[in-house]
């Protein structure tokens, strides 16, 4: 696409927001990777390097009060909603400054203040749950939209099916976003799925429209997502978007990703990287390079500062183990 020739329906300020958000995601996750190597992050962690355009788009499009639900691969979506970098890195490092002070860990990032209604580590479970906040908006006759992110592999689990049917039957204000990165953990999605497009080819089974989008092109993502969000907000029911993308690294911390052909990885990293694409796009739209670069420099600085803050944050008090099982703040199971 030659962007110069089309009418600029998106506009510079939104584009710069998309750029800034994508950088926040990219740079924070790259930092997380460094912190693993330094053994400052324990446990597991699932990076989404290469998938930033999707989360970023929704981060820019959604309003305060809107709800998002994501998975263990949810650092991006959490950061995109406005969560602090120190809160995310702190949680990964198990520090007091973490979003959940170390209780949840990297797979469960939650930041209700920013509409991040949790990250869920059991495949598919959050899809029906996301219907619930959408149902609440409908019940309360308020106009929040719920967005639920999940992967290609997730379309084969039962909860996906149940939730999509219910959303349509009740015309819930929700947008389902399948990030098709071509693999579940180490298995190619095509090897275990009866249709070519794991989400889009199922849309009709829920009376929904088939929508496939280049998930690495932030502009395309923006346009399609905006439509779906508007539709939901106007009370016209759910949408299912399949966004094609790719993760640059392995499935999780321990995974070198060797099951993927070298050329495939290379192609996606070199030719289809959403950040590279978007840097070029901004130039195509004649956006001032100093602006582009200063946003980047600023974000580099923010990530560095947040890293230092997280590193110097204390580890949680072990008394925290016994808090917040119940709404009374404690963990007693007897009187």
């Amino acid at each position: 696409m030659n962007s110069k020739n089309i009418n600029d329906d998106i506009g510079e300020s939104t584009r710069l927001k998309l750029w800034e958000t994508m950088l926040k995601l990219r740079l924070t996750e790259k930092k997380a990777y460094d912190l693993f190597l330094q053994n400052l992050i324990k446990g597991t962690s699932h990076l989404a390097l290469g998938q930033e355009a999707i989360g970023a788009t929704f981060g820019v499009l959604l309003e305060k009060g809107d709800y998002t639900f994501c998975t263990y691969r949810g650092h991006n979506h959490t950061l995109a909603r406005g969560s602090s970098i120190v809160g995310v890195l702190g949680e990964l490092m198990g520090r007091q400054c973490g979003l959940m002070r170390g209780k949840g860990g990297s797979m469960h990032l939650t930041d209700v203040e920013n509409g991040v209604m949790g990250s869920y580590a059991i495949i598919g479970a959050h899809i029906p749950i996301a219907n619930g906040t959408a149902l609440a908006s409908q019940y309360n006759k308020t106009s929040e939209v719920t967005v639920c992110f999940f992967g290609d592999g997730t379309t084969n689990i039962g909860a996906f099916h149940e939730a999509l049917n219910m959303a349509q039957v009740w015309k819930l204000p929700i947008v389902f976003v399948c990030e098709n990165n071509l693999y579940m953990e180490y298995t190619a999605i095509g090897d275990v799925t009866a249709v070519e497009h794991p989400a889009a080819d199922r849309a009709s089974a829920y009376g929904m429209e088939k929508i496939i989008v280049d998930g690495n092109d932030a502009d395309e993502m923006y346009r399609i997502s905006k439509k779906a969000i508007d539709k939901a907000r106007e009370g016209n029911g759910p949408s299912l978007i399949e966004a094609k993308t790719y993760r640059h690294s392995g499935h999780s911390r321990a995974d070198p990703g060797k099951y993927r052909p070298d050329e495939e990885v290379k192609d996606w990293v070199e030719n289809k990287d959403p950040i590279k694409i978007y840097r070029q796009r901004l130039k195509d739209f004649n956006i001032n390079e100093t602006k582009i670069n200063s946003i980047e420099e600023d974000m580099i600085r923010q990530v560095e500062e947040a890293t230092e803050m997280a590193k110097s944050s204390p580890i949680p008090d072990i008394k925290e183990i016994y808090t917040d099982v119940w709404a009374d703040g404690g963990s007693e199971w007897h009187n």
Binding site: K103, G104, G118, I129, T133, A159, N165, W333, N335
Partner: protein, 330 residues
């Protein structure tokens, strides 16, 4: 004065909660127009309309997921899972999501919801529609577990469950739906974590729940009448929070303890109670704690088989006499 069945108490309890709090709504399969398979929600659709009484597809994960999400945003859903056996098809939503999300979020998220379900045997429905599954949820940190044994308790415990800020699994006993009780008022609250002494005595403590509490009470009456044995019957009412104080007090007083469970033997709630009593009252015990349970088998269907599987009043009487070394011929 009102005479109410256990079944009617369920719909009344829901209605009372819904009248008081606009945030409360109710959802389940065949619950609205049809009033539920056990007719325990008759009349709700008429009073509250389809926005607050929601008929659902056969999608238990979607039902409880939606209930959870709605609770996360401040509503107070009551969701029905038609038979407790079906908790298994949505067990992940219950055990991994509903129960753990508050803790994992470091308290950012509250999940005030009630899952009500028809539990227990006695109807000859066979192994997949008759289980007693209170112990499944007792084993999951983050869930409160309630099992009323009378119309009054349905009213009082449902009111408290709906107001509770934490998730509650509310086990209604199928064989109690027809039970009637005279009540002088219906707008009552019974706090969670408060066991009920159904019969008083010093010789032996019978601890029950749901239908088994009622059977233990009948057994205590027979024990008194025919054998002059004075039994205390403690209806736990809620497993979480557990009324450990009452359990300890009564166990110490009686020195002899029998738990009466409808679930199969292994890892039933009686095991937990038994181990707690050992821990806290070891010196006061005059003998081992006896656990009456269903054998560790799936539940058979035919009348005679089911009737001889679930602990009956007679079995409770007999086991109590055996424990106290009293001959039945007395």
């Amino acid at each position: 004065m009102a005479q109410l069945t256990y079944r009617e108490s369920v719909s009344l309890a829901i209605a009372q909660s819904m009248r008081k709090d606009q945030k409360v709504f109710f959802m389940g399969e065949d619950v609205g127009a049809a009033g539920g398979v056990f007719k325990a929600t008759v009349g709700l659709l008429d009073e509250f309309g389809p926005e607050r009484i929601k008929d659902c597809p056969i999608s238990e994960q979607a039902i409880l997921g939606a209930a959870m999400g709605a609770a996360m945003s401040g509503l107070r859903p009551i969701a029905e899972i038609m038979f407790s056996d079906f908790l298994a098809v949505c067990w992940d939503i219950i055990a991994n999501q509903i129960a753990k999300t508050r803790y994992m979020s470091d308290g950012q998220i509250n999940i005030p919801l009630v899952i009500r379900t028809a539990n227990g045997g006695g109807s000859k429905f066979g192994a997949q529609h008759s289980q007693s599954l209170e112990n499944w949820s007792m084993a999951i940190p983050g869930l409160k577990v309630v099992a009323p044994s009378s119309p009054r308790d349905v009213l009082g415990l449902m009111a408290s469950s709906v107001q509770d800020p934490d998730p509650v699994i509310f086990y209604e006993h199928k064989s109690l739906y027809a039970m009637k009780e005279e009540l002088d008022k219906t707008d009552i609250e019974i706090p969670l974590g408060q066991a009920n002494i159904m019969h008083k005595g010093n010789d032996v403590l019978l601890i029950g729940l749901g239908l088994m509490a009622q059977r233990a009470k009948k057994a205590a009456e027979i024990l008194k009448e025919k054998f002059n044995v004075d039994a205390t019957v403690l209806d736990l009412r809620t497993l979480v929070p557990l009324d450990l104080q009452s359990i300890k007090r009564e166990a110490k007083k009686c020195g002899q303890v029998i738990t009466v469970e409808e679930n199969p033997r292994l890892c039933g709630w009686g095991a937990e109670i038994s181990s707690l009593i050992i821990e806290h009252c070891f010196k006061d015990l005059k003998g081992p704690i006896k656990r009456i349970t269903t054998p560790h088998i799936p539940l058979p269907s035919a009348d005679i088989l089911e009737d001889n599987t679930i602990p009956s009043v007679d079995v409770i009487v007999d086991e109590t006499l055996t424990k106290l070394k009293i001959k039945k011929e007395k």
